[in-house]
Symmetry: C2
Subunit: 209 residues, 2 copies
DNA sequence: TGTACATCAGTGAACGCGCGTTCACTGATGTAC
DNA sequence: TGTACATCAGTGAACGCGCGTTCACTGATGTAC
């Protein structure tokens, strides 16, 4: 009895399921249509509910968007990194670039990385969303360098810088490839971006390679 | 007399001046607040007019946004490229990266490159705006490689690819640096992106350098 | 186990707001003679 | 040069629409005895 109550009961279970549906539909809308695409009416209809009930789950639209952003990125980060170990740092960047900067990722935004979808939205949003965006980007950067945490201290700074530039190029390539619309230019951007991402180099200009 | 009429007369001159004010205010709003920031009421008030008169100048909001995008990019492209000749292709990329990927550019969006401000907006917009965005990006790419049009035919494809990746990284760095909000991470992104942009390399993975 | 009351997720109408667009009107500018 | 009419950039009220949020209400679930 106590156990069953601890599990939540029928009502709590249904509420949790409803919240999960709301979050999933908000996450998809967020990635596909941005902040303005997360209209409460639409999200609730997607989740087979009416809009009035929304406020039993989230304080306001802002809270939903923040939760949806975290949800979406946890999902794509896990799928992106995969399980395959990489032989070297360049091999890792090459593999991650191949899996991120490609036409399928560009063409399916509802399942894609929210960092690439929301650059402009986050730039214009308030500090709260920007902080969430920054925290999620940081988690992603840490996931990129994680397998090389054993590398010498002296190399850590270089890896971090290269991961930063790698993310800027990856996000930039996909965002730009979407912005120009379908066509040859979009494909060219992805090809060039993918190649350059695998060869990113952040040595300061003073020290020639 | 005929000359004065050819110049347009008082009414035509005033109309042209009003149109220029509308366009300038729309271009600033577009860069700072995106497509939704270009509200006709606001833009017309900025231009010292009332909203009803808008349709004497533009067919609809879409036409204004397209014209403002072209206007904004012509301006920033000219300022970005400057007049200084560059000693070499790497020197050109290094100089352009320094002038694009920096805190001042990040922090003054109303005067900044619209390509970086509108990636997400253009990705979700209709084909007409995407075509304009693509055409403006193409003009920018052409301006980047223009001084090296005399280079051997065999090098042209490489220069174009590197210009593509360079733009993806430049736009991505500024867009990402804005998205994370002010702080150390934002500055790190710009520093790493700037260094990597000056060293962009799009050789295919099969041929090691 | 059965009954009476309390809780609260979800419903659906309503609100105020800003948006893009339309439209009858005004009055300075332009044109015809 | 002077007068009568035509044009049209700009005004300001009005429209329908979708938005986020509020709120009185419902009815199934949960609790107390």
């Amino acid at each position: 009895m106590a156990d069953i109550r601890a599990q939540g009961g029928v009502r709590a279970e249904r509420k949790a399921a409803a919240r999960a549906r709301i979050l999933a539909s908000a996450a998809a809308r967020l990635r596909q249509e941005g902040l303005d695409g997360v209209a409460i009416n639409t999200v609730m209809r997607d989740a087979q509910l009416t809009h009035g009930g929304f406020y039993a789950h989230f304080k306001d639209k802002q809270a939903l968007v923040q939760a949806a952003l975290v949800h979406a990125l946890a999902d794509t980060r896990r799928r992106w990194m995969g399980r395959a170990p990489d032989a070297s740092w360049p091999a890792r960047l090459e593999r991650l670039a191949r899996r991120y900067i490609n036409p399928a990722h560009r063409d399916h935004p509802a399942d894609a990385c929210a960092l690439a979808a929301l650059t402009s939205d986050a730039a214009r949003a308030g500090p709260a969303l920007q902080a969430t965006y920054a925290a999620e980007l940081t988690k992603t950067l840490e996931a990129i360098v994680a397998p090389f945490a054993e590398a010498p201290e002296a190399d850590q700074a270089r890896l971090w810088d290269e991961a930063l530039a790698f993310m800027a190029l990856s996000v930039g390539s996909v965002a730009l490839a979407r912005a120009v619309g379908p066509g040859a230019l979009s494909d060219q951007i992805l090809r060039a971006g993918r190649r350059a991402a695998a060869r990113i180099n952040t040595a300061p200009k003073e020290s020639p390679r």
